[in-house]
């Protein structure tokens, strides 16, 4: 069994409703793809009581990012702090 580690996910927009401090801790092996991390997030968020929308659909449209850039699968390894960014609507 692979060793696991905890990563911190910052939540924004509609996802903020799930956590008072705007973060979520996820246990991963570090080998997961972005798709797999998003599936883990869907599971974790779906357990929350405040679900008012289709979590799976919104996570699917969201991306993972660091403080400097949006990540793809190849960039994911090694980051202990990520952000989950739903579709944007500034202005």
């Amino acid at each position: 069994m692979s060793p696991t580690k905890e990563i911190q996910i910052k939540l924004f927009g509609a996802f903020r409703e799930f956590s008072a401090d705007g973060t979520l801790v996820l246990t991963v092996t570090g080998q997961e793809s972005a798709y797999e991390v998003k599936n883990l997030l869907t599971q974790k968020l779906s357990e929350k009581e405040k679900v008012k929308f289709d979590v799976k659909a919104l996570v699917a449209k969201s991306v993972l990012a660091t403080d400097s850039k949006v990540l793809d699968d190849a960039d994911l390894a090694g980051h202990l702090n990520l952000s989950l960014l739903p579709p944007v609507c500034g202005g």
């Binding site: 924004f12 927009g13 990012a65 739903p86 500034g90």
Partner: protein, 148 residues
Amino acid sequence: MIQVDMINEVIDLNKILTGLNPSEHGAQIIFSGAVRNHNEGKKVLAVSYDAHQVLAKNIFQQISEEAQNKWGPDLSIYLVHRLGRLEVGEVSVVIIVSSRHRDASFQGSRYLIEQLKIRAPIWKKEHYAEGDSEWLQGHALGEQKATS
């Protein structure tokens, strides 16, 4: 010149404009976005803005540099977005672009607001007269076209 910012306070346009217009520039476009009192048939009272501030400022800088690459390095850009709860009529975003001639300012200004809408990690929650609130659906990062 490029200046970008995200702030929680009221955007003071007069303060921003002081000293912004270089003397070699004959054109200046000021775009101001404000909270509208309705959306999709619902009466809106206010909007709360959320953002990934560090990444958003990086994106502001990136799109500003792209504008300078397209319309010339002397394009002068000031871009500020407000966060927190804004009532109807309050200004949420200001983009000021100046250049030697008007065409670059018009095009640069339009480019910046369109790119901001589809690339900057900013979200808004509308508060309605009926008492409910809703996070607006936006553009998935990576999609190409802004609609409003």
